[in-house]
């Protein structure tokens, strides 16, 4: 008998980001929403979590559920602060993790470094071999496993990964090695490569498994600290942790597949976007989260985030588990502007980062950045500068004058405006490349802007991209925490078929979908949290015979005929490439199902306190500011977001400020409030020449 907790309890979504830990707490009984934002504590993120609960005035005893997004594993991988991990692999192949796929970090420049995730002396070989069909060519040297285990334990390893060639085809040797290790290994941290990812390609599978093993002890330790802190605070409810696929799993089991949490931070923001877009009637979105050093871009189609199982989180660091497909483009508020030797203006890719950061942060930054330009143009509030280390506008102007305005032969204000224009051109280009590589024309989407700096550039970017509408959620600065609060229970399944569609057995597809669905429903039923409904998303990855790239085709029912598949694929292919190839057969590569257990909906309108809203936009107006826009300086109205009436209509140019972000409307842009508390902006046509 499984126990299901009642679903009317209070829940909190808590997301730990690089700078802030955000919290959204909901009381379904009263509809009350609490928000909190406190500094992250990166050494032990649990303190930030407790701080956020305290700041929100949460009664831990009354809370029933916490959904948590953590960057513990992300930071561990990117900073290479990993657990000491050993690898046991097939004789002859210990260097696979170091050799990679014979690439280099940049197309031009013969320098660049790569540090393998497990050092060579902790990569041991044992005799064993399968062929590509899973036949045993060399039996497993069981004594060799025991000897290797001893070497690794003596070397201080706290986790181990077993990675054998062709284990995806026949995992018997990996399983047997796992059994032997479990008898000898002094802790729980044993990863078998095929169990994390059962696909060919030894480098990608090996790195994925090695990442899993290397972060497992770290995540397990963190979760136990966190649950310990929560218990000491009187918490008796459940803790669920966000995965990179945008779904959540229980804290007890999350460390088993720790690699799946590595990209969970960006995923939760995209989940919030999908949820918000569905509620707002804008289910097709490009999400845009502009941070200090980079910008995350993702696509949401029909209120479902695009998912990929081929994400590389940095050079030669592939993690091939299904994850929300978030692409990072190298421009953020800290991107540095410079004049090249050719006398042209360039913004990025160098960044001032978070430390020292832009000049206006007052931490000693001396390079002109996008954020500084926003400030000089009146797009950010200069009054607030005083709180940031006492840098004056004049100091920033001096830097812009020396570094940009004089070399370009323009005024400081023109230089600052040029920085914004160049930044928007660069970011728009990068967003276009992301959407095209995902097979989408940006003009068919709305732009969902969040993060601290996102809304400031969103409307101009949309104009540049030909995107007609921009959606600004009620709380752009806590979007990731909202993502935790609305996340579904989710399990993704991929089965590789890899055959021309006319060679599929009748009913084969249906059987695979059925098996995937049954397994997913079983896993959701096992959770202690109830789902309000279960839905299935079926798709297939296809290609023309002879091709290597895949195109995903969504299915609205699980048993299409071969003719139907071919026609769906040809249509999708034409839409994408404008090429019709009607005499070449199609190949069906992967069969995919996502089983999604929905959670009770969140009333988004409560994210801004309804009691605080005023009756008219004039009542929400806080003043005016001189704003440089399209080459002229104008006095424009400034509004306080929390005071806007729900059905506000604001015509640009205007500035809308709120606690953690600023929205800028250009000439003739029109923002309208909707019933969920979002602002939906109709972007004026025409681009600055």
């Amino acid at each position: 008998m499984r126990m299901t907790r009642p679903d009317h309890g209070q829940m909190a979504g808590i997301d730990v980001g690089g700078t802030f830990t955000d919290l959204v707490q909901l009381d379904p009984a009263t509809g009350e929403v609490k928000l909190a934002k406190v500094p992250s504590t990166l050494d032990n993120q649990a303190f930030g979590v407790m701080g956020a609960l305290e700041a929100a005035g949460s009664d831990l005893g009354a809370l029933d559920l916490i959904v948590h997004g953590t960057t513990t594993t992300t930071n561990a991988v990117l900073e290479r602060k990993l657990s000491r991990t050993g690898l046991i692999t097939t004789a002859g192949f210990r260097d696979v993790l170091e050799l990679g796929r014979r690439t280099r970090p940049q197309a031009y420049g013969m320098t660049g470094q790569f540090t393998p995730i497990i050092p060579r002396d902790l990569r041991l070989e044992v005799a064993e071999r399968m062929d590509a069909d899973g036949n045993v060519l060399v039996p497993l040297d069981e004594d060799g496993i025991a000897r290797a285990a001893k070497v690794l334990v003596d070397a201080g390893c706290v986790s181990v990964v077993v990675h054998f060639l062709h284990a995806y085809a026949n995992p018997a040797h990996e399983r047997r090695a796992g059994e032997i290790l479990r008898g000898l290994w002094p802790n729980d941290h044993i990863t078998l490569g095929h169990a994390i990812l059962s696909e060919a390609r030894e480098f990608e599978r090996g790195v994925t498994a090695a990442v899993n093993a290397s972060v497992q002890p770290i995540l397990a330790r963190y979760i136990s600290r966190l649950t310990g802190e929560l218990e000491r605070g009187g918490y008796r409810g459940d803790v669920l942790v966000m995965n990179g696929n945008g779904g959540m799993v229980s804290a007890q089991t999350v460390a088993d597949e720790a690699a799946k949490t590595v990209m969970s931070g960006p995923a939760s923001g995209v989940m919030a976007a999908a949820f918000t877009g569905r509620a707002a009637g804008l289910p097709d979105l490009i999400t845009y989260d502009m941070g200090g050093t980079s910008t995350d871009v993702a696509m949401v189609r029909n209120a479902e985030p695009a998912v990929s199982n081929e994400i590389e989180i940095e050079y030669a660091m592939p993690i091939h588990v299904p994850m929300v497909d978030v692409r990072t483009v190298g421009a953020g508020g800290g991107s540095i502007a410079r004049v090249t030797e050719a006398g042209l203006l360039q913004v990025g890719p160098e960044s001032a980062g978070a430390d020292p950061g832009p000049i206006c942060y007052g931490r000693g930054g001396r390079d002109p950045t996008i954020s500084d330009a926003n400030l000089l143009l009146g797009r950010l509030d200069p009054e607030k500068l005083a709180v940031r280390g006492g840098v004056s506008l004049a100091e920033i102007e001096t830097v812009f004058d020396e570094r940009l305005a004089r070399p370009l032969g323009v005024s400081v204000t023109d230089a600052a405006e040029a920085v914004i224009r160049m930044a928007n051109t660069t970011m728009a280009g990068a967003i276009r490349m992301v959407s095209l590589s995902l097979g989408a024309d940006p003009r068919d989407f709305a732009l969902f802007a969040f993060g601290g700096a996102g809304p400031l550039h969103a409307v101009a970017l949309a104009r540049e991209l030909g995107i007609p509408r921009v959606l600004i959620p009620a709380r752009p600065g806590v979007t990731n925490a909202i993502g935790c609060a609305v996340a579904d229970l989710r399990h993704d399944f991929v089965t590789t078929v890899n055959r021309p569609i006319d060679m599929l057995d009748p009913g084969e597809l249906d059987d695979i979908f059925d098996a995937q669905t049954v397994q997913g429903e079983r896993m959701i039923a096992r959770e202690r949290i109830a789902a309000t409904g279960i839905r299935h998303v079926h798709s297939v990855d296809m290609q023309f015979v002879g091709q290597t790239h895949l195109l995903r085709v969504e299915l609205d029912h699980p048993n299409p005929s071969p003719a139907e598949l071919q026609s769906l694929f040809e249509t999708a292919y034409f839409r994408r490439f404008r090429v019709r190839l009607d005499r070449i057969r199609a190949n069906l590569v992967n069969v995919n199902t996502s089983v999604i257990g929905s959670r009770p909906p969140l009333d988004l309108a409560r994210l801004i306190d309804p009691a605080g809203r005023k009756a008219t936009i004039d009542a929400a107006r806080t003043g005016t500011r001189d704003l440089r826009i399209d080459g002229t300086t104008r006095e424009v109205a400034v509004y306080w977001r929390d005071h806007l009436p729900l059905d506000a209509m604001i015509e640009g140019p205007a500035i809308v400020e709120q606690m953690d972000t600023t929205l800028l409307l250009g000439v003739d842009d029109v923002a309208r409030g909707d019933a969920q508390g979002n602002l939906v902006i109709t972007v004026a046509e025409g681009m600055a020449p």
């Binding site: 210990r94 050719a342 203006l345």
Partner: protein
């Protein structure tokens, strides 16, 4: 008309975006894995008057950085002379003739005019590496060809598309002369569609900024790119900087070929004089002029990646002394080695000449070979013939900031190698090893990166092995006192009997029986700086990780290790003082 630098910057980004989108569209729709996976393609925009490069996709294969402007230029002059039919709306030319501004036959170029108000505003062109264009061996890399006819079908510029429709007769001729023809239609459509996409995107750019503004911007950007390159050229001290880089042999005649280079800075320009390089060779290690120039440009771009790819950037780089050498081969010299191998040796010569005078910018020599091993045969278990390619990387050179990368891609490429598991799925082979080529990194203050060491066995049927590699006789050059990297080693095991090909890393059609093995150890990168100045702890670490033998610490680096592997500081000081 004078344009402000901001408008110029924005238009430059816009032109770049058009090319990047063409690159993306071509790769995503292409069938050939060489294009789709390995990105062995490039897309660009070229001047209507002289074919000069206006902008090229950032993701293009480096070796094409300078070639397509020569092929476009040649096409324009052939049209002007009446040698080739003039274009109408909707026409796209196809050409793969190496001597008309190309590389090897497999690199097939498409070119289409971009029309604006009834006139040609500029040209759009792309190159894609087709998996086969006919010839003596599948794939086109014949190590023993002595004339271009043996290398494949050679197409002069002809209009494959006329008025927007493909000419089925020309296409039928092509298909009758190449292997696996049935899938090529996918590549042809992808290649043409990428150019059409580029035209659509250019429409938007011109509509937005105006034809005249963009035209002026293109002229001005070219001038400024030249200025930018000159600002970097000025960092090269005046005087003559010489180097020689060696190719083992041409695959037919067993004699080394020399790339002799003297770089001289003369005012704002940098002169690359190849006088004294070897004469054209009998085998396929010849280069054509366009590839030679492109190799110089790509080497300079590796050194100064900041400069945008544009004809202006090439203007200050003046190349001479090619006439009569194997770097300017004429019909019918075989050229299949030019893009994959000779180009890398030209780049090595540029690096070797400049590393002493630009030590912060230039690396010691990288492995510099594409490591092309082809295995063709019959698989009785599947009842079909197969051709397998194993391309492999090698070590990169040490440099001022650190050691060289292990198993990096060729200097002129950016593509990934296929995984062992995929190779074993597709072909009747079994890999015994895929490992670091231990000890191969050239010793230096910053050592070279390590090459690859793999051994692969034929499991069933019969097959022949062919190799088109290089650096088998001479390792990649060390710099500033660093040692050369280890050379390429190819051994074929017939049972227990080893066989080393006479040309070392070049051979054609060596028969293999089941159980026979091919063992390849690719070159390590050259070392950078005196190895006796390397941090002894870094040496101890390399020994601890098994990258070098223990005795190499003493022999190569003058570092004495204690029995526990730690550095014996005193003994090391003495050893280095007496070295």
């Amino acid at each position: 008309m004078t344009l402000d630098p901001i408008t110029l910057s924005v238009i430059q980004a816009g032109l770049q975006q058009v090319c990047d989108e063409m690159d993306l569209a071509f790769s995503r729709a292409a069938f050939s894995p060489v294009i789709a996976e390995a990105n062995d393609r490039s897309d660009g925009i070229y001047d209507a008057a002289d074919g000069a490069l206006i902008a090229q996709g950032a993701g293009g294969l480096p070796v094409f950085v300078g070639t397509m402007q020569y092929s476009t230029r040649t096409l324009l002059s052939m049209i002007e002379n009446g040698d080739v039919a003039a274009p109408c709306q909707g026409d796209i030319y196809i050409v793969n003739d190496p001597y008309l501004g190309g590389t090897h036959l497999m690199d097939v170029r498409f070119a289409r005019p971009y029309w604006r108000n009834g006139e040609i505003f500029c040209w759009l062109s792309n190159t894609g590496h087709w998996p086969d264009t006919g010839g003596a061996v599948p794939g086109g890399f014949s190590a023993s060809a002595t004339a271009v006819e043996q290398e494949g079908l050679r197409l002069p510029p002809v209009r494959l598309f006329k008025g927007g429709e493909m000419d089925p007769e020309i296409y039928a001729i092509i298909c009758s002369n190449i292997r696996v023809a049935d899938q090529r239609i996918g590549d042809v459509r992808a290649q043409a569609a990428a150019l059409d996409l580029g035209a659509d995107r250019l429409d938007l750019l011109l509509d937005r900024y105006g034809d005249d503004t963009v035209r002026h911007a293109i002229t001005e950007l070219r001038r400024r790119a030249a200025e930018q390159m000159r600002s970097f050229v000025a960092r090269v001290p005046e005087g003559r900087h010489e180097s020689v880089a060696w190719i083992d042999s041409d695959g037919v005649v067993d004699e080394p070929l020399a790339v002799r280079l003297a770089i001289t800075r003369d005012g704002p320009d940098l002169h690359f004089d190849f006088t004294g390089s070897s004469a054209p060779c009998r085998g396929p290690m010849n280069s054509v002029r366009a590839t030679t120039l492109s190799s110089v440009y790509l080497a300079m771009r590796h050194i100064f990646p900041e400069v945008p790819i544009s004809a202006g950037a090439f203007e200050p780089l003046v190349v001479s002394g090619l006439e009569g050498t194997f770097l300017d081969a004429q019909y019918p010299r075989p050229v299949s080695g030019c893009a994959a191998e000779v180009s890398q040796r030209i780049a090595e010569a540029v690096f070797a000449a400049l590393v002493p005078v630009l030590p912060d910018r230039v690396t010691a020599a990288p492995a510099g070979t594409s490591g092309n091993f082809a295995l063709g045969g019959h698989d009785p278990a599947r009842g079909r013939d197969f051709v397998m390619y194993q391309l492999s990387g090698g070590g990169y050179g040490g440099h001022a900031e650190g050691d060289g990368l292990a198993n990096g891609c060729s200097t002129i490429g950016i593509s990934k190698a296929p995984p062992v598991e995929i190779m074993e799925q597709a072909f009747p082979v079994l890999y015994h090893r895929y490992a670091l080529h231990e000890g191969s990194g050239g010793a230096g203050r910053y050592r070279g990166g390590f090459g690859l060491d793999y051994e692969v066995e034929l499991r069933r049927g019969n097959a022949t092995a062919s190799f088109v590699m290089d650096h088998g006789r001479f390792g990649p050059q060390g710099a500033l006192g660093g040692h050369d990297g280890a050379p390429n080693q190819v051994t074929v095991w017939h049972g227990d009997t080893p066989f080393t090909p006479p040309h070392l890393s070049k051979a054609q059609d060596i028969p293999l029986a089941p159980g026979d093995r091919v063992h390849v150890r690719t070159p390590g990168g050259g070392g950078y700086g005196d190895p006796l100045t390397r941090d002894p702890k870094a040496v101890a670490n390399d020994v601890r990780l098994g990258r070098y033998e223990r005795d190499a610490a003493r022999r190569l680096f003058g570092v004495v290790l204690l029995p526990d592997g730690e550095v014996d500081e005193e003994a090391t000081r003495l050893a280095r003082a007496h070295a």
